[in-house]
Amino acid sequence: REKFFGDQVFRINVRNGDESSKLSQLVNSDNLKLNFWKSPSTFSRPVDVLVPSVSLQSVRSFLKSQGLEYSVTIEDLQALLDNEDEEMQHNEGQER
């Protein structure tokens, strides 16, 4: 089963076309293994992207260098998944 220890979800606020095109460099960088939960759109909607822990530093540096504003919405994805999993196990036990 895939694990996501230390992976984080960034919310990037795209304010204009210029920032949208800067972001597309990130979108097209396969080596960072990013998973876009909410893809860039042309309507200044926030972009949510899952950043693997190994790519955190590179992505932070890129966003800072490009002046792109972002926040971290999920600090450690695996912690949320562990809660969800634990609850499902508990519930299945109850069901039986």
């Binding site: 895939e2 996501f4 893809s39 969800e84 519930n91 069901e95």
Partner: protein
């Protein structure tokens, strides 16, 4: 329910299918579980058919959920909705009158293989699990695979992309199963697809910025539905056409439905706005399902009163 199914929790595919069976068994005069096809890995695709006029092909409503497997709140909302319909029929005048005139078909897990994969291998899996010859990447986005401007803007021809449209329209057997069933029935008037997240209520088109012929009416209905939804817990939805509300998307279920004569076609992006994203805690399942029901009912009442 009779087999103590906890609607406030996430469940395996087997548990959801068992509960569908249980609902059909508990209310045989109102509900039947119908197999409409199978998935790529040969899992059955089941819908619940709610009908008070067995044997007649009444105008019908299609409620679709779980097409993107990681969006667990959509499958959970759908199975709760199934229980809500059987519990309220005969008690809730609005629902009772809807079912006196129309049938409702509910597909809680439109992407069974993907759903099982999210529970056993990768919680964030979105697509189907079909194999792509010549590529190491698996699956196609089942909501880019419908024959509505297939392979147009907002979809990718790269099998490794999350929005890969597949080798051709209806290449995903899960999509083709629904298409064949709806085209065989020929009397659907409404198609609603439940996704998450972002709290959006959208209508065609996704594949073009062009305004849909019925956009004004769909917008008015969607705003009333969003208002009804918000009345329970204050959850605010944005309303608008897919293409300019979120992003261009070709090959979507709702655009296909609309272009094939199903006028009342809507997409719900359920809770939340991004705090949890796809990992909405189970304690929000019931509040989400309850508020969504108010929106769904508003739309279904409008369809009931405006059959065409």
């Amino acid at each position: 329910s009779s087999n103590n199914f906890n609607y406030g929790a996430y469940h395996s595919l087997e548990a959801i299918y068992r509960e569908m069976d249980s609902i059909a068994r508990d209310f045989p005069a109102l509900v039947s579980r119908v197999k409409i096809g199978h998935s790529f890995e040969n899992r059955p695709m089941y819908v619940l058919k709610f009908s008070t006029a067995e044997g007649r092909r009444r105008p019908a409503i299609w409620l679709n959920a779980g097409i993107h497997s990681r969006e667990w709140i959509s499958q959970a909302t759908a199975i709760w909705t199934a229980r809500k319909i059987v519990s309220d029929y005969g008690k809730d005048p609005a629902l009772t009158s809807i079912l006196e005139k129309m049938d409702i078909f509910l597909l809680p897990v439109a992407n069974p293989d993907g759903y099982v994969y999210t529970q056993t291998q990768n919680r964030l899996w979105r697509k189907t699990r079909s194999l792509n010859p010549g590529s190491a990447c698996v699956g196609a986005d089942p909501n880019r695979n419908w024959n509505a401007s297939f392979a147009g803007e907002g979809a990718s021809d790269n099998p490794c992309s999350e929005i890969y449209h597949g080798p051709h329209a209806n290449s995903e057997v899960e999509v083709k199963s629904v298409v064949d069933f709806i085209q065989g029935h020929r009397n659907f008037k409404c198609f609603i697809d439940l996704h998450s997240y972002s709290q959006l209520l959208m209508y065609p088109y996704g594949y073009t910025i062009k305004k849909a012929p019925d956009a004004d009416e769909l917008d008015e209905v969607a705003r009333r539905a969003a208002k009804a939804l918000a009345s329970l817990s204050g959850t605010t939805y944005q309303v608008g056409p897919t293409c300019t509300t979120v992003y261009p998307a070709s090959g979507s279920s709702v655009d296909w439905a609309y272009d094939n004569g199903i006028k009342y076609a809507f997409t719900f992006e359920l809770r939340d706005t991004g705090h949890y994203g796809f990992l909405l805690p189970a304690n929000q399942i019931i509040p989400t399902a309850e508020e969504t029901w108010l929106g769904l009912k508003t739309i279904m009442e409008h369809v009931r009163d405006n059959l065409y």
